[in-house]
Amino acid sequence: MDTTPVTVAIVSPYRLGREALAALLASLPGFEIVPPDGGAMPGVYLWDVMTAGAAPSLDFVAGTPVLALAAIEAAPGLLAHVAGIVLRDEPPENLAAALRQVARGDQYFSPDLVLALLRRHGSPAVPALPAQPGLAAVTDRERDVLAALAAGLSNKAIAARLYLSVRTVEGHLANLYAKLGVRSRAEAIVLAVRHGLGPQNT
């Protein structure tokens, strides 16, 4: 496992919010806080979204993933702009898992957010999928991973549930995306639900 710390730049309109998040991340292993407008390029931006429709206080550097910390009401408006969304009532360890996952190039969506979006299935918030071959080519292990993904679990939570390493789960996800013809975690979740692998079936 890569032990290089994940560098995080915290973007929040309020000093207390920034310092509280910095103190929380300092208490968790594997993170280093960097200034958002300093010289060092962060591995991920943590954007503290205070209200629905909020715009960031600075321009995020293109190509650097953004993880939004938000209330569920603000989430739909953020989907197109961020790599992941952590809801405010998640435990700290889920924030840590989300930051690591997004820093590695994947997406992250809180389970409650996934459920809320699935209830709105077919709305503009859920991307339309291109035609795809279905689940015939998926192995049993990959199917287990896909079902856990559809329940909104992070890669770490999937790994813990299936007693696999996070690296192995990431490998299964990459294979799944290729087999299913999807380009993102969100598309894979929607496809899994359409094939009956939604949260109600796990």
Partner: protein, 203 residues
């Protein structure tokens, strides 16, 4: 190129309640070791049932106070590999000369752990030989059925470790087990062709 079917494995001996004493190898030290090593998979002495029900009260101190907190805050995945909850001390008869002699040996072992104190010493060859000798003498005091049960439990533990790593081969695996098991566990795991045992500092 490293063979992805061979699992790189280190075995870290633990010292149960002595982790709470003022030793270099205390709970904080154990947490730091596991955090720094950041294994892909961490095999721990807790039953699957207890782990899945979040029943840490019944788990060993090192699992409850060191390993579980590290796992919660990192991408390390814990594999519960204990076949039953019993530990070495649970196999000592409760009364009689066997009990008294067993207690003497247990005191000797604790003395050795306190003298070694540091994790690299406790997991080193000198303390390893001392621990092996004291454990053999202790087991000699047990009735035959106790020795058989202890042997069966260690075989179950080793089997669970192998089954877990063979589900996900080629990863970096750290096994934590009480020191009293190591002289049985390490030779068995070392004999497996798909497992490469390394010092924990080289994981």
């Amino acid at each position: 190129m490293e063979d992805s079917t061979v699992t790189r494995m280190a075995i870290l001996g633990t010292i149960a309640e002595l982790h709470r004493e003022s030793l270099a190898y205390d709970v904080a030290c154990l947490r730091a070791i596991v955090t720094q090593l950041a294994p892909d998979l961490l095999c721990a002495e807790i039953t699957r049932d207890a782990w899945e029900h979040g029943d840490l009260d019944a788990a060993a101190l090192e699992v409850r106070e060191a390993l579980a907190p590290v796992v919660a805050g990192t991408d390390v995945v814990l594999l519960p590999v204990a076949p039953t909850p019993q530990r070495f001390a649970d196999f000592t008869p409760r009364a009689g000369w066997r009990h008294d002699l067993g207690q003497s040996f247990a005191s000797s072992l604790r003395w050795g752990m306190r003298r070694a104190s540091r994790p690299e010493a406790i997991n080193g060859p000198v303390f390893g030989a001392y621990c092996h000798l004291v454990c053999m003498l202790t087991e000699w005091t047990w009735p035959g059925e106790y020795r058989a049960a202890w042997e069966a439990q260690n075989q179950g533990l080793a089997g669970n470790i192998l089954a877990a790593v063979r589900r996900d081969p080629g990863r970096r695996v750290l096994v934590t087990a009480q020191c009293q098991r190591l002289h049985r566990l390490v030779p068995f795991l070392r004999a497996q062709a798909d497992v490469n045992i390394v010092d924990y500092r080289e994981l």
